[in-house]
Symmetry: C2
Subunit: 350 residues, 2 copies
């Protein structure tokens, strides 16, 4: 850390976003062990929870192996130095979940909303400020909005009480110039710290995160080994030394961080994330890769190419919660294929 280096605060959602990769089945020993290792490395903030956040454990998106209360108390105990963060999607979680998380010692509470649906965050951000709890807001699927729109919505949530605001590249669609433009616009529009949260569908998570820092973001999310659904998140133990080389400081100990990542690879995940075909396609199409299993199931049954389904979902701007659209798209693509076969059959005189 040189005198001239700029501080970036790393948030580590390994124990929250990583849950998506294991269908929310992280157990108490894994939660405790990783939190201790991250704390020992000096990771400033560790985020924990069901992949979809507080209150989301359900049949619909998957039941977590460990409930919110045990998850929060386990990780809180395992963090003598680091702060603890939680994430909540309004609708999945409620004010009661936020109150409970504060009582469990959550230091930072992050509300996630679709990038242009910020009004959904008003009540919860206001509630948190009344509780004197630290409130942040992240705009999801942020590639679906222009830099100006994101700046406008960032200012709106700061007005609601958010003490930091930023964007998630939920589909892993961004290239560095896209990130620079958006973070730059938000940084110019608000007077609070700006957050960037990347995914690696196009192999750009680290480069995008560095671009975000260079454009003014001071909070970056990253996970051990990139632990997360599909292509995964920004790889934490790569991002930290790259930031340090680029003129930023994180206060994190590299060797201890590498040890934490090795613990994560060994104890949290069956294997580190791979950038497979559907991750690449969902990134290109700008569709949340969490759609993958449902797209695959429906496509295989109907005999259509799941890659076509992703690109069509992208054209229709499908977002999480609109999984019904998968069924429509598969049916339409299937019908189109049948049409083509019919024409061909006529052509050969059948």
């Amino acid at each position: 850390m040189t005198a001239a280096s700029r501080l970036v605060t790393i948030y580590d959602p390994t124990l929250r976003d990583g849950q998506h990769a294991v269908r929310h089945q992280l157990g108490v020993a894994a939660l405790r062990g990783y939190a201790q290792a991250a704390d020992a490395a000096g990771v400033p903030v560790v985020e924990v929870g069901h992949g979809n956040g507080l209150g989301a454990s359900s049949l619909q998106v998957g039941r977590a192996a460990v409930g919110d209360d045990v998850m929060l108390s386990t990780v809180r105990e395992a963090l003598p130095h680091s702060r603890m963060a939680v994430f909540m999607l309004p609708g999945w979680g409620t004010s009661d979940d936020l109150r409970k998380a504060v009582a469990h010692g959550a230091d930072v509470l992050r509300i996630g909303v679709h990038c242009t649906e910020t009004s959904l965050a008003e009540r919860h951000l206001g509630f948190l400020r009344e509780q004197d709890a630290e409130a942040q807001c992240v705009l999801m699927m942020s590639h679906m909005a222009t830099p100006a729109q994101l700046a406008e919505h960032a200012a709106i949530v700061v007005g609601y009480g958010a003490q930091a605001v930023g964007i998630m590249d939920s589909a892993g669609h961004f290239l560095p110039a896209d990130v620079s433009a958006r973070i730059g616009a938000i940084t110019a529009a608000v007077g609070v710290p700006v957050i960037f949260h990347g995914h690696n569908n196009l192999g750009m998570a680290v480069a995008n995160s560095v671009a975000a820092a260079e454009a003014g973001a001071t909070i970056l999310d990253a996970c051990a080994r990139g632990f997360g659904a599909g292509a995964g998140n920004t790889q934490l133990e790569v991002l930290v030394p790259v930031l340090e080389r680029t003129g930023f400081s994180t206060g994190i100990d590299l060797y201890a961080l590498l040890d934490a990542a090795e613990f994560a690879e060994r104890e949290l995940m069956p294997a580190p994330p791979v950038t497979g075909s559907l991750s690449i396609v969902s990134g290109l199409a700008g569709v949340f890769s969490g759609f993958k299993h449902q797209v695959l199931d429906a496509s295989v049954r109907a005999g259509v190419d799941p890659r076509d389904v992703f690109f069509e979902l992208g054209r229709r701007q499908a977002i999480a919660g609109q999984e019904d659209m998968i069924v429509d798209v598969v049916a339409e693509l299937g019908a189109r294929q049948l049409g083509v076969h019919g024409v061909r059959a006529q052509e050969i005189g059948a």
Copy 2:
């Protein structure tokens, strides 16, 4: 492909650089199957061989499962449309190997030399030009030279007859700005196509390759799923659509390329490359990650931290062929640890 898009020619060394990840054990069926899939996708050039190139199969760096003759004839037959490239390190391979490769139908012959040892390439490049064979030269471990030095050596090998010249980021050390500076300097210094070959130790292989194209490189190397030693190479099926989105054209069919990558994941590798701790450390240290196994073996025996060994090798600018230095570094670090223990023992009066 828009009218304004600039053409980038993709070279695919999956069947050469990927060999490092499987100790050169790719068999005939794997070689044939992948070459056919790459050809079907329209990959313009497929590179094949032992990981260390023509003539390198040996006890010292590992015997290949398939000899050069069979490897070349198998892949040649499997490429009805794509051109075939081979790689050679002078010393491991000789002019006889080059002659044999030309007879087997190799279209492009690439000579690799340490970035500041270009005189080693003179004879072979001259020999190839006499044979009227297409000759290229790549400068390895290029992070160890300045942009000006690389430009100077690039011009030297063009003088020897190289019809394309470029750099390998053999240690995976570069960040995009490093690549831009070096490719820019080389492009300004020579009138032939410029090559970039990246590794992913710092998660930057795709971003670095795009930076190279933007700085003037028109030949980019990339491997299916990044197949290669340690953190692997640039991931081919990610790079291609990212290039297309950035304003370059490759002539490659995306779906067929994704199919080739799935074949590679299934038939060529036990698992896709992971950016593990020693890959990150070797990238930061600027040391060829091929040192990994020897560093680990020696470090574990001596009870020293292999990460310290990598950083010390980086300070000493160790390059391939200098593996003996590992033994020295491990011994010195081990002795220093003992010294510290000795002092501590005295301090506590033992």
